[in-house]
């Protein structure tokens, strides 16, 4: 443990101290000669693409090598957004509409696998794990609404965070999911007071979290070295009163509102007579005065949250977790939060700048990796990476895996609750927890779900491939026929498959085990040899790891 960056991270974790940047990123004094831009290696391109897309492929890696990281990002941000709702709306409506979740997941996979806007799709998925709504629960049958909500995240992935939280707040899917819809002003006679659900979760989960943070994400400490809560129950109630008076557009009544397919996808509207007009306590000692309209209250409340100092480090950590690493150094968090606070042109909340800062930071591609760099791949990304690398499709061209969360523990808008598939604070017992590190994705890497994924990879490699004669029209199959051409040569086969899935960086242990297994399979059965290789790689710890 002699690496200065690791020591700095551990010190900040153990002591609650604000680090002042990672040690290894400092430059020596004096004018350094500008080095020529180093050529990007295939391994670096893969690492970058596993952070910035739904899975590295050799083709895309070549583009990254040719363009460079920055130009690739700029190009990606200029791509038109691949949306979901237009496709859903082109289909005949099926009743009950919950069945159309298969279509929603289908178009999601098509965009995730084939969208030219890979970076936007990946960031939107990350946002969907922060601003969580889920098909599982009250929204099950409201497929247009969840689809439209996802498109909101796609369209605003590189927008401004302030706009994003307003659109999220007023979207009817969120209104239903966190019960702001038809939330009304107090009725003291009947012991009725505003619903606190959205008020609480917008702050706890979407913006500032529970405790005051330094810009580098470490906790601010009070006089007794104690953590400082960001809000109390009075503030929750203040915001709960703000979020009164909103319900579906086009409804004739506020209570038990009517809805239709359009009101499921357009912002909720204000009914002034149901909005509380008293004064309201917000964050940081701010009180909004009595007598404001619902729109004024909402704007004041969202501005109040948006300008809280926690948002930068909070969103920086959440997005770094989803894209790059589970244990960023305080310096990394601080650099990204600084960009959130000011994109260099005086704008706060510029998500395009934040995403760029995350991906271009030295710590996203460390010269000398340490044992806490990187993360466990989200299980769904283990699947999409394989599918992208091996051109997965089905006879119908569809990917209607509405049950994907059952196998992988996650799927698009399929979280079990607003706390997402896993907690950003999850640390399994053992060295990770003992050293105060986290590994969020390991919360769903249970013996049970891991085995589900392992068995799915087994099925995918051995049964659901292009050689199978028993596929149904919607069965998604991979195509490894090219690899069969080299299957007679064990080493060449391993190099080929590992080249597609691991950028060629396969450990000796894994290579040797695969080679031994391949000797048990006659060279006359190249398909089985390739399947075996893909199976053992995609179920290995090194494939589950995102460098």
């Amino acid at each position: 443990m002699s690496n200065p960056r690791l020591i700095s991270i551990i010190a900040s974790l153990l002591l609650g101290l604000g680090g002042c940047g990672g040690g290894s990123n400092g430059s020596p004094p004096g004018p350094p000669p500008p080095p020529p831009p180093p050529a990007i290696t295939k391994a670096e391109a893969f690492q970058f693409l596993n952070q910035a897309s739904f899975g590295a492929t050799e083709t895309e890696a070549q583009r990254v090598i040719e363009m460079g990281f920055e130009a690739w990002i700029d190009n990606q941000m200029a791509q038109p957004a691949s949306l979901n709702l237009p496709y859903l709306q082109s289909l005949p409506i099926v009743q009950p509409m919950g069945q159309m979740n298969a279509d929603r997941v289908d178009i999601w996979f098509r965009n995730a696998l084939h969208g030219s806007d890979q970076l936007r799709q990946r960031v939107a998925f990350a946002l969907s794990e922060i601003f969580v709504v889920s098909q599982l629960g009250a929204l099950n049958g409201r497929v247009y609404s969840t689809t439209s909500y996802y498109d909101l995240l796609v369209e605003n992935a590189f927008g401004n965070y302030r706009d994003l939280i307003e659109k999220v707040t007023l979207h009817p899917a969120m209104g239903v999911y966190l019960s702001m819809l038809s939330n009304e002003k107090p009725d003291p006679v009947n012991n009725i007071r505003p619903d606190e659900n959205y008020a609480r979760e917008l702050m706890q989960l979407f913006s500032i979290g529970l405790i005051e943070l330094n810009q580098d994400g470490t906790p601010k400490l009070g006089a007794q070295n104690q953590q400082i809560p960001t809000y109390d129950q009075e503030i929750i109630q203040g915001f709960a009163h703000v979020y009164t008076g909103w319900t579906y557009a086009f409804s004739n009544r506020f209570r038990n509102p009517q809805r239709n397919l359009l009101s499921d996808v357009v912002p909720m509207v204000l009914w002034p007579e149901y909005h509380d007009t008293g004064p309201k306590t917000l964050l940081n000692g701010v009180t909004i005065p009595a007598g404001q309209t619902g729109d004024q209250d909402l704007a004041a409340a969202l501005d109040n949250i948006f300008n809280h100092e926690n948002v930068g480090p909070f969103i920086a950590i959440r997005l770094i977790h989803r894209l790059v690493t589970s244990n960023p150094s305080p310096g990394y968090v601080s650099r990204v939060a600084g960009v959130f606070n000011d994109n260099g042109r005086g704008v706060r909340g510029d998500l395009a700048a934040v995403v760029t800062a995350i991906l271009l930071d030295d710590e996203a591609r460390p010269d000398m990796p340490i044992e806490i760099d990187g993360k466990i791949k989200e299980p769904l990304l283990r699947l999409t990476q394989l599918w992208r690398a091996y051109d997965a499709t089905s006879q119908s061209g569809r990917y209607p895996l509405s049950f994907v969360y059952v196998i992988f523990g996650q799927g698009p808008l399929q979280a079990p609750h607003v706390f997402n598939f896993f907690s950003p604070f999850f640390a399994p017992p053992g060295e990770i927890r003992n050293n105060s590190f986290v590994a969020p994705e390991l919360e769903i890497a249970t013996e049970y779900l891991n085995t589900f994924v392992t068995n799915f990879m087994f099925y995918q490699a051995f049964a659901a491939n292009s050689l199978s004669t028993e596929l149904r029209e919607d069965d998604v199959f991979i195509n490894f026929e090219d690899d069969m051409l080299v299957a007679a040569d064990v080493d060449q086969l391993i190099d080929t498959v590992a080249g597609k899935l691991l950028a060629g960086e396969i450990s000796d242990a894994l290579r040797n085990e695969i080679a031994a297994m391949l000797t048990l399979i006659p060279a006359t059965d190249p398909a089985l040899r390739v399947a075996e290789t893909i199976y053992l790689i995609t179920t290995s710890p090194e494939y589950a790891y995102q460098r």
Binding site: N191, I192, D195, P428, L442, E447, F458, A463, M517, P541
Partner: protein
């Protein structure tokens, strides 16, 4: 030389491998010298995710107390004449009833196999309304927040930064007494839980119907797929540079080790026909049925102490509570009642104690058609060892702004601590009195170390 072929994978691979328990599978990570237990005991935690509105589960039905309840709950009140009457052996002067969908629990209560613990919740020290409002006592951090209060129930960490769960600590404490067990003391059928996370022990996580077996593995050395299992295992056991790969590999290793033996145990219990009780369909019923099968196989797996974690969701009734609550509570009642009946069939009811936990109770006040996050709540305890037909602890006055309310939202301040609740269960489980403070770190702040609901 034996060859693998496609048929091996697709036919043998899918077949369940019959397997005797393999020596060396026990997880106990410390060689102990403590004596093994000479009896079998299991704790079954039924976690009601989201925060059960348990003041609609156990409700005062005598006129004066009902009037206070009805005034507080308004449109969320259960009609007085629909409450299922229960008759506790010890009276606090009021009469009580259960939610009308909980007939199973009513029967268990009246026959002495179920009890309630009233207004229990996470506390650091005894707390009154004045003390709470004047910040004169330490209270658990982030009250009313789902994940933080779930974590409190799981860990009993109070104001500390403990990172283990109280079932995890129990398993740590007894690890040398159960060194012969073929499965971890802690097993979850409802995902990873802090509750079962120890320092020296980990929980094994299976699905509602048990573990999955690995496709394409054989444990028969004569099968060509034996080598597949071995190779997979050696890959998992290789050295890795990152904490993430190591953490992932550790889970894979446990999965390989346990899948066959645990599946075989469940299957043999299923085939034995020992359990004829019909469980309700649905997640909780399935989970508890699997727990019953594992308990039936306790000798096969050489288990003497087990803690099971099962759970069900949907209790976060911010909306539409009057329509949602009956089915939620009926599922809890029916599943727990069936599970108890199964343990009676197995002749082990006296060795199995089932209890509920939930994030928190809910506001007595309404937000129109639902309720918000609160604090204290009522919990169910069921089993042959339970001193049933009684309500333990103090049922609060359900008055808005009254002596048990934090403020004027109807958030009941717990009168019994979750530490006392846990310690009572832990003592029965076999944890020595001196170690109860390790299981329940705030227990020392409360006079009563044993609530008395277990004999």
């Amino acid at each position: 030389m034996k060859y693998l072929n496609r048929r091996d994978f697709l036919i043998n691979g899918g077949a369940a491998a019959a397997l005797a328990a393999t020596p060396g599978m026990a997880y106990s990570q410390v060689i102990g010298n403590a004596a093994p237990f000479d009896d079998y005991r299991a704790l079954v935690c039924v976690f009601l995710h989201g925060g059960n509105d348990s003041f609609n589960m156990l409700v005062p039905r005598s006129n004066a107390e009902y009037a206070v309840y009805e005034n507080a709950r308004q449109n969320l009140a259960i009609p007085q004449d629909q409450l299922l009457a229960i008759n506790p052996l010890t009276s606090d002067g009021a009469l009580y009833g259960l939610h009308p969908s909980m007939g199973g629990i009513q029967s268990l209560f009246e026959s002495g196999h179920a009890a309630f613990v009233a207004n229990v919740g996470p506390l650091v020290e005894p707390t009154t309304r004045d003390q709470y409002r004047n910040k004169a006592v330490i209270v658990p951090s982030q009250l009313f927040s789902h994940n933080d209060q779930q974590a409190q129930w799981h860990s009993l960490k109070g104001a500390s930064t403990s990172k283990t769960g109280w079932a995890g600590r129990m398993a740590d404490l007894i690890r040398s007494n159960v060194a012969d067990q073929q499965m971890t003391t802690n097993a979850s059928l409802n995902g990873t839980s802090l509750f079962q996370s120890g320092d020296q022990t980990v929980a094994y996580v299976m699905g509602a119907n048990g573990p999955l077996q690995f496709e394409g593995f054989s444990t028969d050395p004569n099968s060509p797929l034996f080598e597949q299992r071995q190779a997979f295992g050696r890959i998992v056991d290789a050295q890795y540079d990152s904490i993430y790969e190591r953490g992932f590999a550790e889970i894979q290793r446990r999965a390989i080790d346990s899948a066959d033996a645990v599946s075989a145990a469940i299957t043999s219990a299923q085939n034995s026909g020992q359990i004829t009780t019909v469980f309700p369909t649905g997640g909780l019923g399935n989970q508890l049925q699997t727990v019953a099968r594992l308990i039936a196989s306790r000798d096969q797996l050489r288990m003497t102490r087990q803690i099971f974690f099962v759970g069900t969701g949907g209790f976060d009734t911010h909306d539409d509570q009057n329509n949602a609550q009956p089915a939620l509570l009926q599922d809890v009642s029916d599943a727990i009642t069936a599970f108890h009946a199964a343990t009676v069939e197995l002749g082990i009811a006296g060795g199995v104690t089932t209890f509920t936990q939930s994030d928190f109770g809910r506001t007595l006040t309404s937000n129109g058609d639902g309720t918000d996050h609160a604090w204290g709540g009522n919990q169910i305890v069921v089993g042959g060892a339970v001193s049933g037909q009684d309500i333990y602890g103090t049922y609060p006055l359900l008055q808005i702004g009254g002596p048990d309310d934090t403020d004027n939202g109807g958030r009941m301040i717990p009168s019994t601590s979750a530490d006392q609740f846990a310690a009572t269960l832990a003592k029965w489980f076999g944890i020595p009195d001196l170690d109860l403070d390790i299981v329940a770190p705030n227990l020392q702040n409360f006079a009563q170390r044993d609530l008395g609901f277990l004999v």
